[in-house]
Amino acid sequence: MESMFEFLFKYRPLIFERGDFMFSAPWPIYLAAVAGVAFVVPTLLLYSRARGKSRPIDRGVLSVLRTLVLALILFSLFRPVLMLSTVVPQKNFLGILIDDSRSMRLADVNGAPRSSWIQEHFGVEDSRMLRGLADRFILRFFRFSSSAERIDDVSTLEFAGDKTDLGRALSRARQELASVPLAGLVLLTDGADNTHKSLEEPLLALRARSVPVYTVGLGQQKFPRDIEVSRVETPRSVLQGASLVVDVTVTQTGYSGTSVDLIVEDDGRIVNIQRIELPREGEVATVRIPFKATEPGPRIFGFRIVPLDGEVVTENNEQEALIVVEDHREKILYFEGEPRWEIGFLRRAVRDDANLEVTLLTRTADNKFYRILFDDPDEELVGGFPSTREELFGYRGLVIGSVEASFFTLDQLRMIADFVSQRGGGLLMLGGRRAFAEGGYAGTPIADVLPVILDESDPDSGFLAEIQVDVTPAGRTHPITQIAETIEESAKRWKDLPPLMTVNRITRVKPGATTLLKGEGPGISDQVVLAYQRYGRGKSLVLPVRDVWAWQMRTPLEDMTHETFWRQLLRWVIAGVPNRVRVLPVADRATLGEPIELIGEVEDDTYLKVNNTSVVARVTAPSGVVDSIVMDWNVDRDGEYRATFVPREEGLHKVEVSALEGGEVLASDASYVQVGDSRREYFGSEMQETTLRRIAEETGGRFYTPASVSTLPEDISFTESGTTVIERRDLWDMPVIFMLLVVLISVEWSYRRMRGLV
């Protein structure tokens, strides 16, 4: 198409895009009008007076045709030109940015690595491309991956970078060439940026300096055959023995409908295998796969699909996730308003769970409480239910049983709501005659927190129903409700469990809440049995039944459903509950020498943000070398502190952040960062034409592929950046003008012949 255009109009479209059109006749432009009148008016008069066999319409058609012929001749006589700004040879610099990341090793075009095209055209001095550019510009080469720097010899590139940071590369080249006349930048890359950073800022800076970027996209825009485990969503930390259900995102091309095994490994040990069917072309499949985190400490979990024959990239068949498996006790306060069977059975269900510490406070009679504690029995809960935020916020989870709302003071009710929203704790309310609407909770601050809508209850209604519990679609794959090895077995198992009793009629959940278990019974079809919602920083759950213990007493002795359910439920209640001090590495993986940003958040014992205190990060390298880094308060965000460290060795680094007061550690938190080789370069590694086009278009450059890049040296020379001169290109001799003249005269002649006017 472009060659046809060039044949007709003499120049390539780019010349017309870049040039300014004007007439360059040596006489003034008003003469054009005079000449037009002098030629056209007599022509029209002559045609209008002519008679003979002609009709008015014939005269009209012939007048128009003749006028067009005259207009074309006049157009050419006035010498139309394009004024182009072109660079002065060897007076301008050109930055050539070469992607040095691993994805350039992919051999997805004719079996040759992407990097081979770069070496062929830019790594050899006498290549046509390099000569074409070197004749016009002073060349400066840059390599980039996670960082960018000047290089002198392209042939020495190893294409081993672990990351592609286009924004950093563009900014670095712009800054380095800021003091010289810069004609533009050439970006040789697949465009597969994996930093997830916006390009807005670097492109804005380039636009401001009028630096066009010419992008050359290397590699295939779409692989013919490939499977990619593109994303895995895992929590940063879990309690030892936790049941996890992880979302794994899988995409593919060329293998629609094929069944493959998705394998989960814990530091190399297979913990689950699930058969999945690959999605259709262009679709994304999200697979939920359950497994248990049994070994304590920082663990690398792998999620992989065994490569199939013919895959272009096999390295993207596996994703890894760093999960810290915590092995310590988490405190939960279980407050009951009346002695009942659920208490003992719940406690027994979780007593062998070394990571759960359920402290029990039961009101056995008026002003009479029974405590079962783990530590500090002389002081903990001696005054009954906590009356201060400090005391309540010391727990991570709160279970409220059958106790009426009026038992609590208004301040305590607000405190419980704050426990969820401000402290980020987990709240679970159990069913009972004094719970929910029956306990007078409608209209209280706790009602706002709960995921269900409490209707006004008639205390005398005596609602009592036996319901068969079943799992909802959301519950089928939720970690709380996984009571068998596989999702299918678990769903089947729910249908076989004994029925439960409820005295709380609850059928409606709030928008945003999720129902995991529902119940049916005589005349009841929509009883909520287990539901949750996020509320502020925490979460709330409801379990409006009163005898979950039936799953213990009325199932076979060896059946562990009851224990499994309570453990998973309570573990989920406290999962992700924040500490007073939190450390958040921006990424859990990094490469050697790559700066790692640390964010620490600090709160006091009532979970209010603490500003401008002393916060220190201790980074322990695998060799045992410890770096202490003072973290600076980020004045833009309350309670947030930041620091950066650069790893000097590979392996697992422990990052411990502590808040200090007078040299004493008030609170601390730890996290981990894995430093070493990364496979991220192989994910989303197809050539990203959209990104590269955007970079080119927003900066005034142009996008090329290896097939269209031959005109690059000439194209870049038509620029207004750098040291330029104005060049004039004639248009009067465009073939299209002469072709039009021939066509118009031929049409006129044919018309006359047809009408017998010759």
């Binding site: 002695p339 009942r340 069977w341 003992g344 056995t364 009679a365 009793m501 009163r546 007493m553 009325r554």
Partner: protein
Amino acid sequence: MKRLIVLLLLLVVTAPLEAQRRRRRDRDRVEDSLGNVEYGHEFTFVRLQYTPAFGPSWNPGWRHDYPYAERNFAKIVEAVSYVEPYLGGSNILRLDDPELFKYPLAYLSEPGYWTMNEAEADGLRNYLLKGGFLIVDDFGEWDWQNFELQMSRALPELRPMRMDMRHAIFNSFFDIRDIEFPYSYRGVAEFWGYFEDNDTKKRLIAIVNYKTDIGEFWEFSDTGFVPIDLTNEAYKLGVNYLMYAMLH
């Protein structure tokens, strides 16, 4: 010597009990028609029925003190605590009845006459190991051998262990300070327990009221035939047993 004097005095005071036993036979016949109640309340008293080894079929040991003992006990539980007991009746169930597993506390009377078939032995084992709690009451020295034999059929790995004041069950609601509980013709009560893994620090799954009969005190608590102080202690023990079973 002092203990003997106390026992003699008690014998005099509680002499009317024997006469009361005769009256009770008539009342039991009437109450037989009560029948079991439907599941649905937090606490419903369950009395275990078994086939007695010997004795009169019209007044088997498992039924002694029925139904007034459980009725009165339920009333006291409701009066002193926040437990929600069912006041309108109670249940009589056999150990091999699946319904038993809806009620985590069961009461067994006069185990000296107790027999079990295999299904019942399995039922008792499952009941206790899953989380059920058993109160054994109303038997004396010559009954112990049969009781221990029957228990060993259900739980051969466990053995009864003598309990003392320090156990949590004696403080789970009422703070009981003395468990040397005198009982008319059987002397001073002894409390034995069956513990998970024979470990007294673990859960108590059955409490054995040996040489006493707290059910009898419950039964006659509204008649004036038994001393109030001893009746109070019997109720305290019962309420504590229930609390322990529910909370532990």
